[in-house]
């Protein structure tokens, strides 16, 4: 935070080639987990080996949404909730290369929730990284679709009366081909997961439980950023390959993390090309035609 805006830091960071260093210092608070996740995203991009000119990042609005402003890639900071549909257009217009959508829980799953499930259903070939800090951090800490029941936020001052979504379950149920969840302290596993997600063809989803000491942590007396991420990590239990429905976030017992889904399924473009070859038999399949009438004894 000490450097003046625009001045290049004296020491080079290992990820400098992927950063817009002239935009540092960043806006994230001390103790925030987004920087750690951002670093994992950058490592994963490098690890994936894709030519950097062929990788784009799209984000929405919010603290995590600012990632797109610091990464030295083609990067698109869009409107609140609309990162995924913007990325859908970008993907379909240019099928080559990789597209990451990096945004927060509120952006992706409240205002953008409808787009999330439909992009997963269509199996749009993008990798979505959701930094889940359990609240709307940028606006000062309001309740989100991730806020645990009874947790305090500025708009649930007594306690959140709503039950949260299980994002991983929703992603899997909507058709995502890769689903994983880690905390911001699972550096190696998180990096590996994002890297794996980038290798997938289709809609891949990685959720990261991340501390927001300034807004969420403060109102719930959770301590400093490091205390919070340590708490998440200590509470976490790795359950790879379990049914995402069972991958619950229960602060009274444990926070289930791991890789839950890794499957293959044709992407939107695969199917678009297949259909437009006009080689498929008409729907419904001929053997099914008249099945209803036969069953009713009419034929």
């Amino acid at each position: 935070m000490g450097a003046k805006r625009g001045r290049k830091p004296a020491l080079r960071h290992p990820q400098d080639d992927l950063l817009r260093t002239d935009r540092i210092p960043h806006i994230w608070c001390s103790g925030c987990g987004i920087g750690t996740v951002f670093s994992c995203v950058l490592s994963a991009i490098k690890k994936s080996g894709h030519p950097l000119d062929d990788v784009a990042m799209v984000s929405g609005i919010g603290c995590t949404g600012r990632m797109a402003g610091y990464v030295k890639l083609d990067s698109y900071h869009t409107t609140h909730g609309r990162a995924i549909p913007f990325a859908t257009g970008l993907r379909l217009a240019r099928p080559q290369g990789k597209i990451l959508v990096c945004s927060g829980d509120g952006d992706l799953l409240a205002i953008g929730g409808n787009h999330f499930i439909h992009a997963a259903r269509r199996n749009i070939d993008i990798t979505v990284v959701c930094v889940n800090n359990f609240n709307y951090g940028m606006t000062g800490g309001q309740l989100a679709p991730s806020t645990p029941f009874n947790a305090r936020t500025t708009t649930s001052p007594i306690g959140c009366p709503e039950e949260p979504f299980n994002f991983c379950h929703m992603a899997a149920a909507s058709g995502a081909v890769y689903v994983a969840r880690w905390t911001a302290l699972h550096i190696r596993r998180l990096t590996d997961s994002i890297s794996e997600a980038l290798q997938k063809r289709g809609f891949s989803f990685v959720e990261v439980l991340s501390p927001c000491p300034t807004s969420f942590g403060r109102r719930n007396k959770m301590g400093k950023g490091l205390d919070i991420v340590k708490y998440y990590h200590d509470k976490s239990v790795i359950r790879n390959n379990i049914d995402p429905k069972e991958a619950t976030l229960d602060f009274s017992t444990n926070l289930v993390v791991g890789k839950f889904v890794d499957i293959e399924r044709p992407t939107f473009l695969d199917n678009y090309q297949l259909i437009n070859k006009r080689e498929l038999p008409a729907w419904p399949a001929s053997t099914d035609k008249g099945a209803g009438k036969k069953a009713a004894g009419l034929v």
């Binding site: 817009r20 002239d22 935009r23 950097l52 000119d53 062929d54 784009a56 799209v58 797109a68 402003g69 030295k72 890639l73 083609d74 990067s75 698109y76 900071h77 869009t78 409107t79 909730g81 609309r82 549909p85 913007f86 990325a87 859908t88 257009g89 970008l90 993907r91 379909l92 217009a93 240019r94 080559q96 290369g97 409808n114 787009h115 439909h118 939107f268 678009y272 259909i275 437009n276």
Partner: protein
């Protein structure tokens, strides 16, 4: 055999289909939309035409997503469009603003129906004219064209794409239900006679490129995803590098640019037609389908020996301020029939600035003006003169 892109020839075609053919002839290869009466036929025809010519049709989950996908596709390097009507147009407003702020070329066709709210889904209206101008928050300039026939749906859609590439912004086609659904003769010219404005690409290497540094005409070249320029774009107020800058100076620079590139090129953008205006005492100023009623009324007035003329606005935004100021000094009155209770007539009054009488011929929507209604207004205005 590959499908034809430009369907050169004479067709009997509805306006919504003609819009599609204009778009395809203009190089549009991406359509993201959502079904809505009376614009559904645009989506339907695009869904059958685009796959065969290397294009993408995607039906999004709503109009918010449609507009966002169109912007994404434009940054992916394709010419892109969507079509909608009133309720969908309302939903698109936020991302139209993102398109303005990030200077993203694309086209939005609004086949207007009568509102407010769900209104009359299957019947005509012109109630979105001010929404087209001011519907997204903040201050900006917009370009909108208003076709009055299927032929103009074809011609103006090509022009809308050209303007969007020339000035880098979402351009609106403010059609309406009657124009969209009526079937008339549409002549599609040979492909090589259609003039297209290609996307302006960076002329400097990536290390020297500033994504929002304008050329002398006020418009910056555009680098697509994968071109190697690694641009950052944002809906935040930004500088020429595309970087967010949160202060009044950057705000003034950016707003000046997005407003100036339109205001400084009005003569290139604004198009209109006139009929019987040389000695006219009464000017009927109209756009879109209302211009058809107006044309008939003016002809009938002339048959009666009344000195009326027609000014048909083909570009509605930016409004032809200079033209109207001059005209106001030469006529007794200007009459504007529009299928709303007074929208573009407010601009007419502003530009006439009291130098002539300005009369609205209102219509709440659901049908078009009877030419007789417009003729009556001409006769009343002449009596008052």
């Amino acid at each position: 055999m590959a499908a034809k892109t430009v369907l050169t020839g004479t067709h009997f075609m509805n306006g919504d289909y003609a819009c599609c053919e204009g778009a395809i002839a203009a190089g549009c290869r991406f359509f993201g939309g959502y079904p809505i009466t009376p614009a559904t036929e645009v989506a339907e025809r695009m869904s059958s035409r685009l796959p065969d010519i290397g294009g993408i049709y995607i039906q999004m989950e709503d109009e918010l997503a449609s507009m966002a996908a169109v912007l994404g596709a434009s940054w992916g390097g394709m010419k892109a469009m969507t079509s909608t009507s009133g309720p969908g147009f309302s939903l698109m407003m936020e991302n139209i603003g993102l398109g303005i702020c990030t200077e993203t070329p694309c086209v939005v066709c609004n086949v207007q129906r009568a509102g407010p709210s769900t209104g009359l889904p299957t019947l005509v209206g012109q109630g979105d004219m001010m929404q087209a101008r001011w519907g997204s928050h903040g201050h900006y300039e917009i370009i909108a064209v208003a076709p009055s026939s299927p032929q103009e749906m074809f011609d103006f859609t090509i022009r809308a794409f050209n303007l969007s590439e020339q000035y880098r912004l979402p351009v609106m086609i403010m059609a309406d239900e009657v124009v969209g659904h009526m079937t008339e003769k549409v002549v599609i010219p040979p492909e090589d006679s259609i003039e297209l404005v290609p996307r302006r690409r960076p002329a400097v290497p990536p290390e020297k490129f500033r994504p929002f540094k304008p050329d002398p005409d006020g418009v910056a070249p555009m680098a697509s995803f994968g071109d190697g320029y690694r641009v950052h774009i944002t809906g935040l107020t930004h500088d020429q590098r595309g970087y967010p800058v949160m202060d009044a100076i950057a705000q003034e620079d950016m707003v000046n640019r997005i407003v100036g590139k339109i205001r400084n090129n009005l003569d290139d953008i604004i198009r209109y037609e006139t009929a019987d205006m040389d000695d006219a005492e009464i000017a009927v100023v109209a756009y879109g389908i209302a211009a058809r009623s107006a044309r008939r009324a003016v002809r009938e007035a002339r048959e009666k020996g009344l000195r009326a003329g027609l000014l048909k606005l083909n570009t509605v935004w930016p409004f032809p301020e200079k033209l109207i100021r001059e005209l106001a000094g030469n006529v007794h009155a200007m009459i504007m029939p529009e299928i709303n209770y007074g929208q573009m007539v407010l601009e007419l009054e502003r530009c006439a600035a009291g130098r002539c009488t300005v009369r609205l011929v209102p219509h709440a929507g659901g049908s078009i003006h009877s030419p007789k209604t417009v003729l009556n207004a001409i006769e009343t205005a002449l009596k008052e003169a």
